[in-house]
C-alpha cells in the first residue's frame, strides 16, 4: 500500500471525523445537561438525512438551503422529546432508564421512516457530488470538504453559543451546579429543554453530511449510534472537545486500518480501541474522573 493511499486514508479520516464529531457533540451535549444517553441520536441523524432527501427529491429544494428547514424541524422535535420523555426518566437507575426510553424513541423513528420510505438504501445527490480536487497525489471529493467545513462551522458556532452567550452560560451553569443556577435565576428546566433541542437540531446537519457521503436506510441509525457512543465515551462523557478529538482519532484509525489491512477489520479495531482505552482510563480520554463517583 502506497504512501499516497495512506495519506489519503488519513485525510479521509480527518474529514469524516469532522462529521462524526458534529453528531457526537450533540450526543454529549444532551448527556451533559440531562445525564441521559440519547440512543435515538443515530435514528435522528437518519431522520435528518431523510428530511433533506425528501425536500430534494419531492420539493426540489437543494440540500444546503434545505437545511434552513430541517434544522428548525429537528430542533422542535428535540424539545418535544425532552419534554415528553427525557425529563420524566426517574433518578434511580437513570442510566438504564434513559437508555431504554431513548431506544424506544429510536425504534419508533425507525418504524415511521420505514413506513414512509421503505427499507431500500438511498443516498443524497447534488451537482457537486462528482467533483473533486487534486492534491498531494490524489483526488479529494468536494462533498467531503463541504461536509467537513459545514461540520467545523457548526462546531465553532456551538462552541461560541456555549462559551460566548448568555444562554450558553445558563446551560453550563445548570450543568455544573443546579442549586446555584436556581439561586441566580436560571430557569433550569427551560434551559435543558432548549439544550436538548440544539443537540438534536445539529443532527439535521449531521444527517445531510452523513446522507451525502453514505448510503442510508431507516435502520442505518444503529451502526451510527454505536460508533457515536464509542466516540462520546472515549472522549469523556459531557466533554465536547473530547468528543471532537475522539471522533477524528477513531475515524483516522478506522480508515487507515481499512487501507492498510482490510475494511472488514476496521470497525472491529474501532471498538477494540475504545475498550482498550477505557480499561486504562475508565473516565475516557478527556473526561473528569466523575465516572466512578455516583
Amino acid at each position: 500500500m502506497s504512501a499516497t493511499a495512506l495519506l489519503q486514508a488519513i485525510v479521509d479520516g480527518v474529514l469524516t471525523g469532522g462529521v462524526y464529531a458534529l453528531m457526537a457533540a450533540g450526543l454529549t451535549l444532551i448527556f451533559g445537561v440531562m445525564d441521559i444517553i440519547n440512543i435515538a441520536q443515530g435514528a435522528m441523524v437518519v431522520l435528518g438525512a431523510y428530511l433533506s432527501y425528501e425536500l430534494e427529491t419531492k420539493a426540489g429544494i437543494p440540500l444546503l438551503p434545505g437545511l434552513l428547514i430541517t434544522i428548525p424541524a429537528m430542533f422542535v422535535l428535540g424539545m418535544a422529546i425532552e419534554f415528553c420523555f427525557m425529563r420524566r426518566v426517574r433518578e434511580t437507575e437513570r442510566a438504564a432508564m434513559s437508555i431504554l426510553v431513548t431506544f424506544a424513541v429510536a425504534i419508533i423513528i425507525e418504524g415511521v421512516l420505514s413506513k414512509a420510505f421503505g427499507v431500500d438504501y438511498v443516498q443524497l445527490h447534488a451537482s457537486y457530488v462528482d467533483k473533486s480536487i487534486y492534491l498531494l497525489g490524489f483526488y479529494l471529493p468536494w462533498i467531503y470538504v463541504i461536509a467537513f467545513v459545514l461540520a467545523a462551522v457548526l462546531l465553532v458556532a456551538l462552541y461560541a453559543l456555549l462559551y460566548r452567550t448568555r444562554f450558553g452560560r445558563a446551560v453550563r451553569a445548570s450543568l455544573q451546579n443546579r442549586t446555584a443556577a436556581d439561586l441566580i435565576g436560571v430557569n433550569v428546566d427551560r434551559t435543558r429543554m432548549i439544550a436538548v433541542g440544539i443537540g438534536v437540531a445539529i443532527t439535521a446537519v449531521g444527517g445531510f453530511a452523513f446522507g451525502a457521503t453514505n448510503a442510508f436506510n431507516p435502520n442505518s441509525g444503529y451502526d451510527l449510534i454505536s460508533r457515536l457512543l464509542a466516540i462520546v465515551i472515549l472522549g469523556g462523557m459531557g466533554s465536547i472537545g473530547g468528543a471532537m478529538a475522539a471522533a477524528v482519532f477513531m475515524l483516522v484509525i478506522n480508515d487507515v486500518v481499512a487501507v492498510a489491512w482490510s475494511p472488514t477489520w476496521a470497525p472491529l479495531v474501532f471498538f477494540a480501541a475504545l475498550v482498550l482505552v477505557l480499561s486504562v482510563r475508565p473516565q475516557g480520554l478527556f473526561g473528569r474522573s466523575g465516572v466512578r463517583a455516583q
Binding site: 451546579n177 442549586t179 436556581d182 439561586l183 441566580i184 435565576g185
Partner: protein, 513 residues
C-alpha cells in the same frame, strides 16, 4: 490506632493539615470541632474512602494508610456515615446480614443461605439491643432518621469490629433516642469495644467519652479528658469563634437581664423580612416548627444554634429552594412564601448558600457576571461589575482563573461579589466563615460589615456564634427547629444559655452559679 501527620486537601481548600490523633484501645474517644474542621474527612481517610496525600495511619502497628475500605473493615474497623447510608431496598434484617463476615469460598457463599440461624439470631439480638427488632422485616428505606442511625450502628456490630468510628451518631436524633444511644455505646465499650465518636452534641460527647480531641482548621487543637477540654478556653473559642482577647463565658460575668419579647427589643426600623409560624422540612417531617422572626431593614441579623437546629433549612425556605408547609413569609410587605427562587431573587433577596456554589469550570469573571444573569442590559452589567471589582479587587486580579482554583476564602468573596451584581436589598449568608482560617474569616466578616454599611440588609447563619453575634445588631437563637432566644447581638451573645447550647448542660451548670 495512631494517626500521624495526615494531610488532605480538595482543590483550593485544605481539609486536613498534618493532623495527629491517637485512639486509645478500649476507650471512647470523642472527636469534636466546628464545621469544616475536617472531622468527616479524617474518617474517610482512615476508612479508605479518600486517599491521604501525606502522613500515615496505622492500626495495632499495621500500616493501613490508603488501604481499600473492605480491607480496613476486615481488620476490624467499622464506621457509620454522617448522612446514614443503608441498603434502602433491603429489609432491616438483610441490612444486618450484609456485614456478616465469613471466610468461605464464593461457591459456598452462593449455596449457603444468607444468614445461618445463628447469624440471624445474633442479628436479631443486636436489633433488639438497639431497640428496632420489631422492624426487622421492613425495608430499610422506610425507617425514620433515628432508626437508621441505630440500624447503621447495629449492622456494623454484626461483624463484631474492635474499633467503631461513629460520625455524628446523635445528629438529628431526638433526645430520648440519644440517651438510648449513649447507653448502648457505653455498654459496648464495657464489652471492650473502642470508639471514635464525631459529635456536635456536647452533652452527649462530654457524657460518654473518656478522651476528647478537638479538631480545628484540619489539625488537632487540644486532646484530653472531657473536663480538661471543657475548661480549655481555646475550645470554646474554636466553637464560638476566636477573639482578640480569648476569654470564656465562665470567665465573664454573665449579664443577667430578663429576656424581652423581641418586638419590643427590636423597635427601630420596620422589619424588611418577616417569618410567621413557618413549618418546613425535607420529606422526613418538619425541621422548622412554628418559626417566627423579623429581619429589620438595614441591620445585620445573625442566626445561631447548634448543628441540626434548622438554620440552613430556614434560609432555604426564605430563598424559595424549599416550600414552607405552613406559615407565611413577607418581604417588604409582599408575601414571598411559595414563590420560585428566581422570583424571590428578582424581589431582591440573594442567598449565598453554605455549600460552595461557584461554577467551578467557569472563570471568576464569568461567575460574577452570572450573578447578573437576569439582567439583559449589558451596559448595566458592566457598570455593576466595575463597582463590584472596586469592592472586591480579587474579582479583577483573578478574573480569568477557573473559580475552582481559588482557595475557600477567595471563593467566598467571589460568591459575595456575585450576589451583589443584582444589588439585592437583603443578602442571606449561610455560614460565610465555614472552613476558613481566622484571617480570611476576619476579611469575610469585614466584607459583611462593609456591605451592611452600604445599606444592604443582611441575614446570616453562623457556626462561629461569637464573631457572628458581635458583628450583628440582632441575634436569633434556633434550637430543635424553634426560636429559643432573640435579642440584640450582644444580649444573645452574653446570655448564659449560649454556652449551654454549645457545650452541653455541664457548661451551662458551670456558668449558672
Amino acid at each position: 490506632m495512631d494517626i500521624s501527620g495526615v494531610s488532605k486537601s480538595f482543590g483550593g481548600v485544605k481539609a486536613l493539615s498534618t493532623c495527629h490523633l491517637e485512639i486509645h484501645e478500649g476507650q471512647i474517644n470523642g472527636l469534636i470541632g466546628p464545621n469544616g474542621s475536617g472531622k468527616t474527612t479524617l474518617f474517610n481517610c482512615i476508612t479508605g474512602y479518600e486517599r491521604v496525600q501525606s502522613g500515615q495511619i496505622s492500626f495495632r502497628d499495621t500500616d493501613i494508610t490508603n488501604a481499600r475500605p473492605d480491607r480496613v473493615f476486615a481488620l476490624g474497623i467499622g464506621r457509620t456515615f454522617q448522612l446514614t447510608r443503608l441498603f434502602a431496598r433491603l429489609s432491616v434484617l438483610e441490612n444486618m446480614l450484609v456485614a456478616t463476615q465469613r471466610h468461605e469460598g464464593w461457591l459456598r457463599s452462593m449455596i449457603r443461605r444468607a444468614g445461618s440461624a445463628s447469624e440471624r439470631n445474633r442479628a436479631m439480638e443486636l436489633l433488639d439491643f438497639v431497640g428496632i427488632a420489631k422492624l426487622a422485616h421492613d425495608p430499610a428505606g422506610s425507617l425514620s432518621y433515628g432508626q437508621r442511625k441505630l440500624l447503621e450502628l447495629a449492622s456494623m456490630l454484626v461483624a463484631d469490629p474492635s474499633v467503631l468510628l461513629l460520625d455524628e451518631p446523635a445528629g438529628g436524633v431526638n433526645p430520648t433516642l440519644i440517651g438510648h444511644l449513649a447507653d448502648r455505646i457505653a455498654q459496648l465499650n464495657r464489652a471492650g469495644k473502642t470508639f471514635l465518636v464525631v459529635e456536635h452534641n456536647m452533652e452527649f460527647v462530654m457524657g460518654i467519652c473518656h478522651r476528647v480531641t478537638v479538631l480545628s482548621q484540619g489539625s488537632t487543637l487540644v486532646s484530653g479528658t472531657p473536663d480538661e477540654v471543657r475548661s480549655n478556653p481555646a475550645v470554646l473559642d474554636a466553637y464560638l469563634g476566636g477573639e482578640d482577647d480569648p476569654s470564656t463565658p465562665q470567665a465573664r460575668q454573665p449579664v443577667r437581664r430578663p429576656m424581652l419579647r423581641k418586638r419590643e427589643v427590636l423597635g427601630g426600623p420596620e422589619p424588611l423580612l418577616t417569618l410567621r409560624g413557618i413549618y418546613a422540612g425535607y420529606g422526613g417531617g418538619d425541621i422548622l416548627k412554628d418559626v417566627s422572626i423579623d429581619v429589620p431593614e438595614g441591620a445585620i441579623t445573625c442566626i445561631v444554634g447548634p448543628n441540626g437546629a434548622g438554620k440552613s433549612t430556614m434560609l432555604a425556605t426564605i430563598s424559595g429552594l424549599l416550600r414552607p408547609r405552613a406559615g407565611e413569609i413577607r418581604f417588604d410587605g409582599r408575601v414571598v412564601s411559595g414563590k420560585t427562587p428566581g422570583q424571590i431573587l428578582d424581589l431582591g433577596i440573594a442567598l449565598v448558600p453554605q455549600a460552595h456554589s461557584l461554577f467551578g469550570d467557569m472563570t471568576v469573571r464569568e461567575n460574577v457576571e452570572m450573578g447578573a444573569f437576569t439582567i439583559r442590559d449589558q451596559a448595566l452589567v458592566r457598570k455593576r461589575l466595575a463597582a463590584v471589582q472596586e469592592l472586591y479587587p480579587i474579582v479583577k486580579e483573578r478574573a480569568d482563573e477557573r473559580a475552582a482554583s481559588l482557595s475557600g476564602g477567595q471563593q467566598r468573596l467571589v460568591e459575595f461579589a456575585r450576589c451583589l451584581m443584582l444589588e439585592p436589598r437583603l443578602i442571606v449568608l449561610d455560614e460565610p466563615s465555614m472552613g476558613l482560617d481566622p484571617q480570611t474569616r476576619q476579611i469575610v466578616f469585614d466584607m459583611v460589615a462593609l456591605m451592611n454599611r452600604q445599606g444592604k440588609t443582611i441575614l446570616l447563619v453562623e457556626q462561629n456564634a461569637r464573631a457572628g453575634l458581635k458583628l450583628s445588631s440582632h441575634g436569633v437563637v434556633l434550637e430543635n427547629g424553634t426560636v429559643r432566644l432573640t435579642g440584640s447581638g450582644r444580649e444573645v451573645l452574653e446570655h448564659p444559655e449560649i454556652g449551654a447550647l454549645y457545650l452541653g448542660g455541664a457548661a451551662a451548670g458551670a456558668a449558672a452559679p
